[in-house]
Symmetry: C2
Subunit: 151 residues, 2 copies
DNA sequence: AATTTATTATAATAATTCTAATTATATGTA
DNA sequence: TACATATAATTAGAATTATTATAATAAATT
């Protein structure tokens, strides 16, 4: 039996490669799909929250968002007189790209889980969710923004 | 329920961050732990095989191995008169580093699975293995099945 | 044997990400 | 208010990764 590290590296790598291959066809670069995924789900957030969700550094999110802003996918603006945080949201063009990505995510997930039954997929997601909860204790993302979308 | 893509990104990211944080303390950079993991398990291989295992591009493996060779972790040499493939193996120093990494992998896995029972961890690994098998069909590492889907 | 095709690695370049330090802003406290 | 501390984003520079093209070699075909 392979190590968990290997299995996660490989599973994530396979899914991610499929996603990025499709994403590049609609002009998106590597860091952008996960940001679009977040914004489609949560509408808007400051950059620090996006960094935490995407498991990348705040400075990296900054450079990704700069490119996305330049290509018209997102807006960054201040909110409620807070001049320290920048709130990020999708433009119409960004919403369109995010919707396309959503379909791409789904197709890639279907492909990599082709050997699993629906109940196994559900089981897998529940187990992975328990791993994510360990990190969530530090980050407090889960729980205050609750999305009850069903599969 | 979050998407599989998100759950894999987050789980892998959490585990990977813990691993890399420890790896940097023993002088290893981001790409090196997974290569050491492979070599500890399989002793030696050509660069293409390592790339496939690590889910990264062959050219990227080349640059990772160049750095590892320069820092004395691996050897690259020809084998059986084949001057096209380079066979990579661990030096003593590389074996030592790989052993340290092995303990680090284990500790990180234990930490991120702290909310799972042993049987749940086993279950999780089995499900992830089924995902990895889909990729193996294309890569013919673990066996050959003909696949009608081509991109 | 000679030619063609496929494979493996490398080089050069570009893009991405990370680390550390900096700037600006907000919050807390005397 | 003044000051210290904490927070959010950015900048600069280094390191890493991916992409594309090329060289060398092996294998296959004629």
């Amino acid at each position: 039996m392979e190590s968990l590290h290997y299995l996660l590296m490989k599973s994530h790598g396979m899914l991610s490669h499929k996603v990025l291959s499709e994403a590049s066809k609609i002009g998106l670069t590597a860091g952008q799909p996960k940001v679009l995924d977040f914004l489609l789900k949560y509408q808007e957030a400051d950059q620090k929250t996006i960094a935490s969700y995407c498991e990348i550094e705040p400075a990296t999110v900054g450079s990704i968002l700069l490119r996305m802003e330049n290509s018209g996918l997102v807006l960054r603006r201040q909110k409620n007189g807070n001049r320290r945080s920048l709130y990020v949201s999708l433009t119409d063009s960004g919403f369109q790209a995010a919707s396309q990505m959503s379909a791409i995510f789904l197709a890639a997930e279907t492909e990599v889980t082709q050997l699993l039954s629906p109940s196994e997929v559900k089981n897998l997601k529940e187990l992975l969710t328990k791993i994510c909860l360990v990190g969530a204790e530090h980050e407090k993302i889960w729980g205050d923004k609750d999305d009850n979308k069903v599969e």
